[in-house]
């Protein structure tokens, strides 16, 4: 008798593979009860315009910095060029002034020589 009960119980408690329907229901139930996953995409989507603005402003800053640097360099070069030009003209002015001095001396010497020759 007891053996019958025992065998009945064993038979009743044996491992039985669940039916396909049960599995599907269970999975559906578990899935519906799962907490909502975090929304990183929404967060990233919120950041996206910010990142875009950051990139754009960084690029604009770089372009601006390069532009300003080039402008300053150009300005410096122009200043140096104009200064060099002024110095060249000044050097030629001083040189010609002294050449004139020599020329006047040579001219006055030759004039006095001519006068002396004509006087003699």
């Amino acid at each position: 008798m007891s053996k019958d009960i025992e065998s009945q119980m064993r038979a009743a408690l044996r491992a039985v593979a669940p039916s396909e329907e049960f599995t599907q229901k269970l999975v559906a139930n578990v899935t519906s009860r799962l907490p909502a996953p975090p929304k990183p995409r929404r967060f990233a989507a919120g950041l996206r315009p910010l990142a875009w603005w950051f990139s754009a402003s960084l690029a604009a800053s770089v372009v601006l910095a390069v532009g300003v640097h080039q402008h300053l360099q150009q300005q410096r070069l122009q200043q140096s060029g104009l200064e060099a030009r002024r110095e060249v003209l000044e050097a030629l002015r001083v040189t010609s002034q002294k050449l004139n001095l020599a020329y006047e001396a040579v001219k006055s010497q030759s004039t006095s020589l001519t006068d002396a020759q004509s006087g003699a």
Binding site: S80, A84, L92, V94, L99, V106
Partner: protein
């Protein structure tokens, strides 16, 4: 192998040859003491780089600038020192002698030497000629209250210098370009 030896020999001899070649660039002293005493001083140091830069800023459409540009083409340097004092004999002759002694070196020829009793102005113009080409010019002008040293280094084209006549007050010196010396005065 021969080429290699030639190259080595050239590399060894090049500095010696460079030293032996006449140098049209004068070693101009700083004259710092004189600059302090001077009422007016002009210090111009134009190396090839600055001359090239200056040439870029000369307007080819302007006759004076165009002539200057032509003159600058062969030049490698322009060095000017000029000091003006408010009283006579503010500088010593020895100050200038340091430069004048360099002009006794081979290669330099005195082109003009003037001594004026009236103005007490002495002007010496020296030129260095290499292969019938003026490669350097030095001018020393000493007046009672002023002295000036000018050193122009490079291929000085006297024809182009002629074109400057009348500009910057450059007088007609009657320089014969073929000889690099002044023609006899008429």
């Amino acid at each position: 192998m021969r080429q290699c030896i030639s190259l080595w020999l050239f590399a060894l001899l090049a500095p010696a040859l460079a030293l032996a070649a006449p140098n049209p660039k004068l070693a101009i002293p700083s004259f710092s003491a004189l600059a302090q005493k001077a009422t007016e001083s002009v210090t111009i140091t134009l190396d090839p780089g600055l001359l090239g830069l200056a040439a870029k800023f000369l307007d080819s459409n302007d006759p004076q600038d165009a002539a200057t540009k032509e003159v600058l083409k062969g030049l490698q340097g322009i060095y000017v020192r000029s000091y003006t004092f408010d009283k006579d004999s503010a500088y010593q002759q020895s100050d200038i002698d340091a430069v004048r002694s360099q002009l006794a070196a081979p290669g330099w020829n005195r082109l003009v030497e003037t001594r004026s009793r009236k103005t007490h102005a002495d002007v010496d113009i020296y030129i260095m000629v290499d292969h019938n080409q003026a490669v350097g010019l030095a001018l020393i002008a000493s007046e009672p209250r002023q002295f000036t040293i000018v050193n122009i280094v490079g291929a000085i084209d006297l024809d182009k210098l002629h074109k400057l006549e009348g500009q910057f007050g450059v007088p007609k010196l009657d320089i014969d370009p073929s000889k690099g010396t002044p023609a006899p005065s008429k």
